[in-house]
């Protein structure tokens, strides 16, 4: 593959993420990609992506890639959920169950772009997020900022980056009208 050209876009870049949606990767019947951007997602009506309302400015996605003749990367998605409740424990437990078979994730970054990971064109659902770590710390006193929250981290190892959505789907995802997402 010849090296592609890349022209820098002159515009501000806003770090961080705003929204998060999970599904079992096996729930995705198909994705269609046009010019390497997702132009269609087929899922059944009963198994959509589910929104997890994370704490503001707590969703972080990282990639650590390494290679020479071969290449692999570890993708991690970390998010924080404040105030322990029965609903939060139920949601967390459902995610822990799903990880056993693999999870796919859509995140919306603070530039307004949605990204899919855990499902790739080549490997379908076989490189989904299949590791999870959780952390909960009550804190000791009311002024202990950032405590009394669950931190959930999902991890996947693969060799393909996230996939962007085309303009139509991106607008639908960000606008809350994507048919394959169950919004809060």
């Amino acid at each position: 593959m010849a090296i592609a050209k890349y022209s820098k876009t002159c515009g501000k870049n806003v770090p961080g993420n705003s929204r998060l949606f999970f599904t079992e990767a096996a729930n995705i019947s198909s994705i269609t990609a046009t010019s390497n951007e997702i132009s269609d997602v087929i899922m059944s009506d009963t198994t959509k992506f589910r929104e997890f309302g994370a704490d503001i400015d707590s969703i972080k996605f990282t990639i650590e890639g390494t290679g020479s003749a071969s290449y692999s990367e570890v993708q991690k998605l970390e998010a924080k959920f404040s105030k322990k409740t029965t609903a939060l424990i139920t949601a967390k437990n459902s995610l822990l169950d799903a990880v056993a078979c693999g999870v796919a994730i859509i995140r919306v970054d603070n530039n307004g772009n949605a990204w899919l990971s855990g499902y790739t064109v080549k490997d379908k659902n076989r490189r989904a997020y299949n590791k999870v770590t959780t952390n909960f710390d009550t804190g000791a006193k009311p002024s202990d900022e950032g405590t009394a929250a669950y931190t959930i981290t999902l991890e996947a190892e693969g060799f393909d980056d996230e996939l962007a959505f085309d303009t139509t789907l991106n607008t639908a995802i960000v606008g809350g009208t994507a048919t394959f997402i169950d919004y809060n």
Binding site: S29, S30, I31, K122
Partner: protein, 59 residues
């Protein structure tokens, strides 16, 4: 009736876990039966067209 890939979707690549679907391939490489499945699932790149044979036999 036949199923056809819409013109601007001909180079789109589909990656499906639906039983019987091949590894990632272009939409226009799919069989009629596979296109029918996508049409029923409201895939925006697939349309139903009148079969020429049926059209002529109706005359």
């Amino acid at each position: 009736m036949k199923y056809k890939v819409k013109q601007n979707w001909e180079n789109a690549v589909i990656s499906a876990t639906i039983k019987g679907f091949p590894a990632a391939c272009k939409l226009n490489e799919l069989s009629q039966a596979q296109l029918a499945i996508l049409y029923e699932a409201s895939h925006p790149g697939v349309e139903k067209v009148e079969d020429e044979k049926q059209k002529n036999s109706g005359k």
